[in-house]
Symmetry: C2
Subunit: 377 residues, 2 copies
């Protein structure tokens, strides 16, 4: 089972630095998890991911249940064997896919029926089924099946989804304990909903934390709402969550999001941004975002980011990355994804160091000035 | 400039082991060069290529002349900068593309006009132009522009192409010396033609070796002829080439080809097989070829090759590679390409060791038995 050891705190904000003890080793928090939706962070070898600073990965229950199927994953030795990854892994529950693939979904009190993105056939997800699949995948952390409402400002829908999330959580907890997954060391995180409404968020934290779980997540964010609404939800919910448990903000985010959320007490993040942007030739750098297909880089012999020690920045001139991007070569996606991950992990590393030194305010100010200079958030 | 130091010889065959001194370090021969047609061995990071055993790479003059263009490559610091590779590099001359893209080609005495595979526009290649492009790319080894006849058994056409190759070689040598490329340390290899005809092969070796060059290649093989014809061409030409110069058999081949050609005195090889097969989910293993999309591997927890120490074999069960292949994930191409390269380089390494121990015959026998057992060449 997973547990959080808090090793340092910021004196002015709720930021904390910790060590997350997992069945696959300790990882430092605040932590960013790259997304390997289908059981692979696209085009990246495990050792190269580790060299970029990745320590814990995320994979997707819904996608893996369709292909190769959780029985196959179990037969192969679980998700760690499938991904060739011996650090910790978290799987999301499919709740987000019910939202993001809502045009393919029928929801009812018992669960959701989605259309398979592989062959169009109906796929039934219920709290029990989602826990069964995750038991088969056997990540270190399984997420509860939640109902993520599409519009966080639509009060009636948010209230209904939030209450359903609570009923589904109780069923997830029963399934988790009943299947033996808990005893076998798999952790379950409950998910707080409540949209943009303070009272609903408070009520959701209260309901979710009635279950004594190894960790808790704030869900229903990063669904298209503005940053203010997202940070407001974090501001309300995070301090109410148990101090000694890890807090995970799902699907977030950008470098500025990390700083804002960590100051509000968040420990864990995941987002497709660094790898998806990497495949789309967009780089995050200490000098702002760079579109590597831009013609202006054609003859540029300088590194993508002069302050970066990743393989893309130390081995290749910017013009070479531009050529590989324009030629749609696989290596461009691999290199820029690795660079972006290196950048994200480096930022989290700087934040952890600043928390230990109680200098998070200085880091934020430096970050703000740098970002203003390059005209980018 | 490049030079070969022979360090061991087989007492029963013409096989020799050597050290190829290049401007980018020494590499051991017999040597296999992976193909990075467009300046990238698809999906493979330079460090991972090196870990698989690659020491010298091949890239393609024709493709790179179209995109990004040799002026751009020169501006970026040459092909080594473009490829992020600090070992030696060889570029083929475009002569093979004149053959392989013959439906897009018009040939005349002065050169060839191809259709661009990027935008369909006409591209003129002459011996002088090909040397100018390679001077811009600046690999360690440039290849002469040759006329590779499509049918090695069509005597009149082979004779004409072979004589033209000799006239073109004289122009390549003049351009190479005239441009300063030779003085700057770039080596030029001449190419022997002559198809399946002993007298034409002999005459071609004689004509080509009238130019004192750092190395020589046997071309016009691996164009669809049978193995006997190919090995017969090698058998005739290789012993006539200067003993102290590297001998390169272009576009070859399979593991058995290596043994046969090395015993006839060949030092260098290149072939797309390990990487192209890797992208097509075909693995070379010590137990024969494996199609990783085969359903029988679905639940297979054993390594792809139990005798292999590559990342694919040590990190992933065969069933995981099967899943990644079926899902068309980039990582499947990367992993199987790396495995195949590891297998090819491992075989060459075993051959080099056997030459030093003067036990090449034993290696061949073991190899023959193993291949017979698995029903594969």
């Amino acid at each position: 089972m997973l547990s959080l050891e808090i090793v340092a705190r910021c004196s002015r904000t709720r930021a904390r630095r910790g060590l997350l003890h997992t069945p696959h080793g300790d990882v430092e928090t605040p932590l960013f998890m790259p997304v390997g939706t289908k059981g692979t962070v696209r085009g990246l070898l495990p050792a190269d991911l580790h060299a970029a600073g990745s320590r814990m990965l995320l994979a997707n229950t819904f996608h893996l249940s369709l292909r190769p199927g959780h029985e196959t994953v179990r037969a192969l030795g679980g998700l760690h064997a499938l991904m060739g990854w011996d650090g910790p892994i978290l799987t999301d529950s499919g709740g987000y896919q019910v939202f993001s693939l809502s045009h393919l979904t029928q929801l009812d009190e018992d669960g959701a029926t989605l259309k398979s993105i592989v062959d169009g056939s109906p796929v039934r997800l219920t709290p029990e089924r989602v826990m069964e699949i995750q038991h088969g995948l056997f990540p270190d952390v399984a997420m509860a099946f939640d109902h993520c409402p599409p519009d966080p400002h639509a009060r009636d829908a948010v209230a209904a989804a939030t209450e359903r999330t609570h009923r589904w959580l109780a069923r997830c907890v029963d399934a988790w304990r009943g299947s033996g997954a808990a005893e076998e060391g798999q952790s379950l995180f409950g998910i707080v909903q409540g949209g943009a409404f303070e009272d609903l968020r408070r009520a959701s934290v209260e309901a979710v934390t009635q279950h004594d779980l190894p960790g808790y997540a704030i869900g229903g964010v990063s669904v298209g709402e503005d940053r203010e609404a997202m940070m407001s939800a974090v501001e309300i919910a995070a301090p109410l969550l148990p101090e000694e448990k890890p807090r995970y903000l799902m699907g977030v985010g950008t470098p500025l999001d990390f700083l804002d959320a960590i100051e509000r007490g968040i420990d864990m993040f995941d987002c497709v941004t660094p790898t998806r942007h990497g495949r789309n030739h967009q780089a995050f750098t200490s000098e702002g975002r760079v579109n590597l297909r831009n013609r202006i880089w054609e003859h540029d012999t300088t590194p993508l980011d002069p302050n970066c020690t990743c393989v893309a920045c130390t081995r290749f001139p910017r013009g070479a990355l531009r050529y590989l991007s324009k030629a749609n070569e696989m290596l461009a996606a691999t290199l820029i994804s690795l660079h972006n991950l290196h950048f994200f992990h480096g930022l989290l590393d700087a934040i952890r160091t600043a928390i230990s030194a109680d200098r998070l305010g200085e880091l934020r100010e430096r970050f703000r000035l740098a970002q203003r200079r390059v005209g980018d958030r």
